[in-house]
Each structure stands twice: as C-alpha cells, then as structure tokens.
C-alpha cells in the first residue's frame, strides 16, 4: 500500500515492498540532488524521521533514509547512491533537525560529506580518530544485486522475474540504475 504523496517525490524508482518480509512498505530510489525536495514533501505529509543509514556497496555509498507516520504500517525508505570518490549528499538537517546526528554518524562511519550540515564533525568516534570504520575493503564490497531482496531486483529490472508477486510502479524517470 503506497501513499499518494510518493508521486511527488521525484523518484527514479518506486517499488512496493512486502511489510511482513522487509518491514517497509515502499522503497524509493532518488538522485542525490533531489533528496531535499523529496524530504520537504514528506515533512509536509507529517512523516517522522526514523534514521539515516549508509552502507558501502560496489556502486558507491548507499544512503537510506527511513520515514514513517505516527500510525499504521507506513515505513518508507528513500535510497540514493553516491560515488566513493566524492560522497556528497545534501544535508536534510535543515528540514529534519533530528537528521543532524544521524548524518554526523554516517560521516563518522563512512566519511560521507553532507553538504550544508551546520556542524559536521565526529559524533561517536574520538575527534582524533583516523579513517572510517565501516568502509569496506575494495574486494569485500558487494554490489547492489548481491544485497537486495529478489522482488526489488525484479522490480527495478536487475534480475529476471521468477515469481511475479510484486507490482511495479512506473516511475517518473524510467530505466534501472546501474
């Protein structure tokens, strides 16, 4: 069950997910530049920011934002991918001040640069800590194809459909990312 406001997010892909299997109702892929507009829409809809999570993949750093409403099974995941070389993401802490610390945490662990963040320095790690502990070695990075559930891969066209269970929502900008 996908909320209507999702159409306004400017997503590259929207995939409805099975809440019982993944805990989210929809996965929304975005281009990094459009995150601020998308988050502003969610803010207007009354979404609560749960967390900002990053993970290190072959394609780059994937940054995911989890939002949910006060009521019902409503968790949305916004995902965007930035390159390893210049990991820059616009900071959403201006809209959701609670993102401030989550973004600092991502900076700590992955070295992702949240542009426009008011105070981007170490939060959990010591201030003289060097490096970013959750960044993986080149050879142990996995591609998106290896860590995403099958229905999602099918929906975005990264895998051949085996069991056509999940409906694909035609997105504004077509075409799979990769």
């Amino acid at each position: 069950m996908i909320p209507e406001c999702i159409a306004a997010l400017g997503a590259t892909q929207v995939v409805a997910m099975d809440h019982a299997a993944t805990g989210v109702v929809a996965s929304v892929s975005l281009a990094p530049e459009t995150i601020l507009d998308a988050v502003a829409v969610l803010d207007k809809e009354g979404y609560l920011l749960e967390d900002v999570m990053a993970s290190d993949l072959k394609e780059g750093f994937e940054v995911t934002y989890h939002f949910s409403l006060f009521e019902g099974k409503s968790r949305l995941v916004l995902r965007l991918i930035v390159s390893h070389d210049a990991p820059k993401v616009p900071s959403i802490s201006g809209i959701y001040p609670g993102a401030d610390w989550h973004e600092r945490e991502c900076f700590d662990f992955f070295g992702i640069d949240f542009t426009g963040h008011p105070n981007l320095h170490h939060l959990l790690l010591a201030e003289d800590f060097e490096g970013h502990p959750l960044v993986k070695a080149e050879n142990s990075r996995k591609a998106l194809v290896d860590v995403m559930p099958q229905p999602w891969l099918v929906a975005v066209g990264l895998a051949a459909p085996e069991a056509p269970k999940v409906e694909k929502i035609p997105a504004a900008a077509a075409g799979a990312k990769e």
Binding site: F70, R75, E127, V147
Partner: protein, 385 residues
C-alpha cells in the same frame, strides 16, 4: 607540566566551539562526562548566564563500542549477546528487534508459544526498565528513597526473568527462531503474583512521589515538547506519547502476537516532563495488563523453530521495529547470503530523543535541564552504541 595543564584548560574540539564569544558574565561549563545526572558518560557543554542555559550541546561517544562493526565480524547467532548490551535496561526488546529482523530476512516462522513468551518477558523487562528510570529520575531530582523502592520491585521481575533465562540483566534469551529455552512451570503463577504486587504498590508510588508538590513543581511545565518538534527530531516512545501522540509500534505495526492483547496506549497532551513521567507510570499498568493476558493464555508447543547450525539467510534486507522502553527500536539487517551480516544498522530511540535536548534546554535553569534530561529516559550505551 604547565603545557599539559594549559591544553587541559583549552579543551577539545567540542569545547572549542563554545570558547569564542563568551563575555564577562557567561560561564562555559562542561557537564560530564562524569556527572551524577548524566547517567553514565554523557557530556554536555553548557553556556550559562547565571544559572540560565543559553546553549547546550551534548557530546557523545564516550562509551562508543561500534556494535555495527562487530555485527559484520560475527555470524548471525553470534551477534545476539551484543544486543543485550546496547540497552542493558531493556535488553529483551533489542534482542527481539534483531532476531525479528533476521527472521523476516530468512522467512522463519516462529512457534506460537515462543511468541507469547517473547511478549511476556519483553513486557516484564519494560516494567523493570521503567522502574529503574523512575528511581533514577527521582534521584536526579534529589529524592533518594524512591529508587530503592523501585529496585525492590524490580528485583522481583529479575527473579522471574532469571528463572526463565538464567541471567538478570543481559539475557540473550530471544534468539533467531524463538526463545532460548522454555519458561519454568511456575512462570504463570509468579507473573500473576508479581502483577498483583506491583498493582498494590502503585498507589504508594503515587502518594510518595507523583502527588508530591515538590516533584510537580520540578516537572510541570518543564521542557515542553510540541508534537511537530518531536516529529522532526524523530522522538518516539514515551517522549512522543507525552506530547499527546498515541503512537506505539505495538499498535501501529504489531509484531509478534501483540495484536491479540488488549492494552492501553497512555498519552498526555501537555508535552512537559510531568506528562512523560505520567506516561511511563501508566505504561507500568499497561504492561501489567499484557503480562496477565499472556500468561493466562500461554499455548503449549515448541519454543524454537528449526534453525540450521550453519545459518545463512538469503540475500536481501529487512528491518524490524520494536517498541522499547525508550521508544522505537529499529534494526536493519542486510545480507549478502553469507554467514555474516553484510550490514547491520541499529536505530536507538534514545539517540533521537537525546538530540532534542539542545533545543529543549535553551533558556531553562540548570536544575530544569537535569529534570528534562531525566525525563527523556536516556541510556547512554544505547545512544553511543
């Protein structure tokens, strides 16, 4: 020697942000990392004028243990003991969140008896967590005795939990596929006995503390948190419900068998420290109700699903939200189909609740800041992870 002393006075990166600017009558104060009411090792930089706080900035990381990195080094089952140590006061909920996320990932069906036992122990654990918060909050406000009364009651819970799990604080009881072991035969009687005992004690709590005029003076109208601000900061749990939003994971996305039980989600619209206080005290009763219903309808059956010794979930990702004593716990697990998780992310409710503090503490008295800090119910290991 003198250089070392000078640099100690100059402070660090965090205090440096406070140094420029203060004038004659401002005081830059580092509250913590060792301070009686920062509960563990939280540090807050304060800029004071007299006793009024102009600016407050929490500084975290003093007991950061990098649980998320540890998760990537261990197998799925081996990570379970870590979860109890994230939030030692409500270890069961964290265990459940992690086990639940992995179960979603692997599509494991948990036996019904295990689900019931999970609810019972998690609710008992929630009561014990709220009791510790109650005592510690009053300790922050200068009352010494309530914490010992609370601990007296908490010991009874720990005895029950020990009889089922074998330990008293970090249980590792809820595992992937069910629970570690079955509960003892007299579990039901002991739970009922405890619930009755706690219910008879609650009027005493009210007389001694809740109605106390000094406590009301310290809590009412302090740290008022509007709903919109709570939402933007991602506040959850009793902090959000103290602002009048009846949002509870057990209700809105029921996990386990929570949808089979009747319970109240207490809310108070005031949004102040007293409202958060009252929400937690009401939750004691709500949890008692749940425990009572669970143990009186505990089904028979196995308590663990078959999980292979070499456990490899299929690739994919899943997250699981659980209502912890402090709010919404969210555990994401990402699998590449191997023995170890590819990425585990722990969303600690205290982390978001704590980030409110800077804004709430602006312009209040130092003593009120202590009261606000206590009313957020922080467990620092959970925030630092």
């Amino acid at each position: 020697m003198h250089d070392a002393f000078d640099s100690a006075i100059r402070g660090d990166l965090s205090s440096a942000r406070f140094e420029p600017g203060p004038t004659e009558d401002k005081l830059i104060l580092s509250m913590g990392p060792q301070h009686p009411s920062t509960h563990g090792v939280l540090r807050i930089m304060l800029e004071l004028e007299g006793e009024y706080i102009l600016r407050a900035e929490p500084i975290l990381g003093y007991i950061h243990r990098m649980h998320e990195w540890m998760a990537e080094q261990k197998t799925y089952l081996q990570f379970i003991p870590n979860m109890g140590r994230v939030d030692y006061l409500h270890a069961m909920a964290w265990n459940w969140a992690y086990a639940g996320a992995v179960e979603r990932l692997a599509g494991i069906e948990v036996p019904e008896r295990a689900e019931y036992i999970r609810v019972a122990v998690t609710e008992l654990n929630r009561i014990s967590s709220h009791l510790v918060w109650w005592g510690a909050y009053l300790l922050d406000l200068g009352a010494f005795t309530p914490i010992l009364y609370a601990f007296d009651d908490r010991e009874q819970i720990l005895d029950i939990l020990q009889s089922a799990t074998g330990s008293r604080l970090t249980y590792s009881y809820i595992t992937i596929g069910g629970v570690y072991d079955d509960v003892p035969d007299d579990f039901r009687e002991r739970c009922i006995e405890f619930v009755n005992r706690l219910r008879s004690r609650l009027p005493m709590y009210r007389d001694l503390v809740t109605d106390n005029v000094i406590l009301r003076g310290r809590c009412e109208g302090i740290g008022v948190l509007p709903v919109d601000m709570a939402r933007r900061y991602g506040a959850t749990g009793p902090v959000l419900r103290g602002s009048g939003v009846a949002s509870d994971v057990r209700r809105c996305e029921p996990y386990g068998v929570y949808d089979r039980f009747e319970f109240r989600v207490p809310t108070y619209p005031e949004g102040d420290a007293m409202a958060r206080y009252k929400v937690r005290l009401d939750e004691l009763e709500a949890s008692c109700d749940i425990v009572e219903q669970v143990v009186s309808s505990l089904p028979e059956g196995p308590v663990t699903a078959k999980v292979s010794r070499v456990f490899k979930p299929p690739k994919g990702e899943a997250c699981m939200a659980v209502e912890g004593a402090r709010g919404k716990i969210l555990v994401h697990v990402r699998s590449d189909g191997g023995l170890k998780p590819y990425r585990v992310k722990l969303r600690a409710p205290g982390f978001s609740n704590m980030s409110l503090f800077s804004e709430l503490a602006q312009g209040v008295l130092l003593a009120d800041a202590v009261s606000i800090l206590g009313s957020l119910d922080l467990v620092i290991p959970e925030i630092d992870r």
